[in-house]
């Protein structure tokens, strides 16, 4: 099924390429020893290198280089053993040196590909053109003073990975799935925390449209989109705008635009005409970055199991459906929780509890799995109580509700509340006999052929036993007492 937007002149295809800027997880900056932690006092994490004081020299951080290599390996990409840093020249108040150190001609990572999963369960491979290392700029605050902008350089010099995709993306859903998958892979690798609220992951979205079978038309770049939802909305809004331009006889101009999330539209960025004349050249302060093949191989050996491999294993080893497996592996913490819960237990049942009751509880209370009041150990114990018939599946829901509320262990809850299932056939017989004796008219109806009444008796017995009767035994006793 191909996504297309219907215009007045027929269907249009959408072509999207993404440039994702991912903040590297490291303690110190790409070229200086200043800290990277989020939320510090203004300009408290700035070295003279970051502030571009004259004569200061950049020295690259080995961990940032390793993180880029790990990410490249996770994207099934070629690692370039020789790469180079270049200067990208432009003027802006939060870029004190007047250039950003980036990698232009020789990036550290070459072409790769990732698999994305679509809503209909199909998968698609999206090409990754390259990944390069670069410095982040500082942060400008424009709303603090009527005539001035305030500059905080804490973020200046923090390492970013820019990950460029091929124009293989053809719908808002594919764009969203690509960003989510990239984020998931980097979070597994521990190379980027993927926190879009704090700006750790931002995307520049390149959009063009074309008639089926045509070559590419002019594209526009929508800068700095900071959520998966906005990426999807920006693709649709910009494609719709371009179709209107073409169909009204106009021409789409190549330009940089901004996405206005309040209005759901894009508008041109008020930038100067020379903004794209970056005059790249090799940074004379930095000789080529040469990696040792053995070191790269060593990093490759230590990579964790990634989402695709984990999903395949969950399906093969635990018998999960493709859907359940995909939901569980999207976040490593969820996958770990599942494995701890399912260990030596019914994995399918564990998956159902986690993707159902547990996720619903976490969503409702705005918690992450790390903050879950129900631990994997306790959820596992709950499954054990169901498996050994200590409680019924129905009572288990009540036990879970208490666990979610109090964080208590399920066995303690069952004991304290007397919820242990009654399997004593004498007690069940007595309860059934009492209900049968109290409802002679209903007994007559049942025996007269109204078989629906069976459910009434089971319900009444369960109610009398406060839901604790073993369902199989109760059914069996009701049938016995009702038979003529």
């Amino acid at each position: 099924m191909t996504y297309a937007i219907e215009g007045s002149t027929g269907p249009w295809e959408v072509v999207v390429g993404l440039e994702v800027h991912a903040q590297v997880i490291s303690k110190s900056k790409l070229f200086s020893g200043a800290a990277t932690a989020f939320g510090a006092e203004p300009n408290a994490q700035v070295s003279f290198v970051d502030a571009a004081f004259p004569g200061m020299l950049p020295v690259p951080n080995a961990e940032c280089v390793a993180q880029a290599v790990r990410t490249g390996l996770g994207l099934n990409a070629k690692i370039n053993l020789v790469s180079r840093f270049d200067r990208k020249n432009y003027f802006y108040a939060d870029l004190p040196s007047g250039y950003q150190i980036s990698q232009y001609e020789k990036p550290i990572v070459g072409s790769g590909a990732i698999e994305i999963e679509l809503a209909d369960g199909s998968t698609k491979s999206i090409g990754v053109t390259r990944l390069h290392l670069e410095q982040d700029a500082g942060k400008s605050l424009h709303d603090q003073d009527p005539t001035k902008s305030y500059i905080d350089l804490n973020r200046a010099g923090v390492a970013l990975m820019e990950i460029v995709s091929e124009p293989d993306i053809h719908s808002p859903d594919e764009a969203g799935a690509y960003v989510r998958k990239l984020r998931s892979i980097m979070r597994y690798l521990g190379t980027c925390d993927g926190n879009m609220e704090e700006g750790s992951l931002r995307a520049d979205v390149n959009v063009s449209v074309r008639k089926p079978g045509e070559a590419f038309r002019t594209r526009c770049e929508i800068k700095n989109v900071n959520s998966v939802r906005f990426v999807m909305q920006a693709v649709e809004a910009e494609a719709t705008r371009q179709i209107e331009v073409w169909e009204s006889g106009g021409t789409v101009r190549q330009e940089t635009r901004l996405f206005d999330s309040a209005r759901g539209t894009t508008r041109p960025m008020r930038s100067k005409e020379d903004a794209h004349d970056y005059r790249y050249f090799p940074d004379p302060d930095l000789p080529p970055l040469v990696l040792d093949k053995a070191w790269v191989n060593e990093l490759g050996k230590k990579l964790p199991e990634l989402p695709d491999a984990k999903r395949a294993r969950f399906m093969a080893e635990h018998g999960l459906s493709a859907y359940d497996a995909a939901v569980l592996v999207a976040e490593r913490a969820n996958a770990d929780f599942f494995e701890a819960t399912a260990h030596r237990r019914d994995a399918k049942q564990a998956a159902n509890w986690i993707t159902g009751d547990l996720f619903a509880t976490l969503n409702r209370t705005g918690r992450t799995i790390e903050q879950s009041p129900v631990s994997a150990e306790n959820l596992g114990k709950l499954l054990d109580l169901i498996a050994d018939d200590t409680i019924s599946g129905k009572i288990a829901k009540d036990v879970f509700a208490v666990m979610a509320e109090t964080g208590e262990a399920p066995d303690a809850i069952v004991e304290a509340r007397g919820w242990r299932q009654v399997k004593d056939s004498g007690a069940i017989d007595a309860a059934v006999a009492a209900i049968v004796a109290a409802n002679p008219d209903k007994v007559a109806e049942y025996r007269g052929g109204k078989e629906k009444m069976f459910g009434f008796f089971v319900g009444q017995v369960m109610k009398a036993m406060a839901g604790k009767g073993n369902p199989a035994l109760v059914n069996e006793a009701v049938r016995r007492h009702l038979s003529p």
Partner: protein
């Protein structure tokens, strides 16, 4: 290669250097003289020679990921023409 007056104006604008119109002919002559001199390098035969970006063949040295710097906002802000609290203050940039 030679620079015309428009190229001079453009280079000056990119470098944020204000150049009065009257200075352009002189700058054009100076810069074209420099470019002509550098163009002599084109006479060297570099067939089969790897492009060299720096003056050495050394590879980059890396440092360990340790916080060793920062924590000195006063020193960083000491030369700022204007400040607001711990921020640099600049004429408003609108986007």
């Amino acid at each position: 290669m030679s620079l015309d007056p428009d190229a001079i104006r453009r280079v000056a604008r990119l470098a944020r250097i204000r150049v009065p119109e009257v200075d352009i002919p002189r700058l054009q002559a100076d810069l074209n003289g420099i470019l002509g001199w550098i163009e002599m390098l084109n006479e060297v035969d570099v067939d089969g020679v790897e492009p060299l970006a720096g003056g050495t063949t050394l590879a980059l040295r890396l440092r360990a990921d340790v916080v060793t710097d920062g924590g000195m906002p006063e020193a960083v802000l000491a030369n700022a023409p204007d400040r607001a609290g711990e921020f640099f203050a600049v004429p408003k940039v609108v986007e």
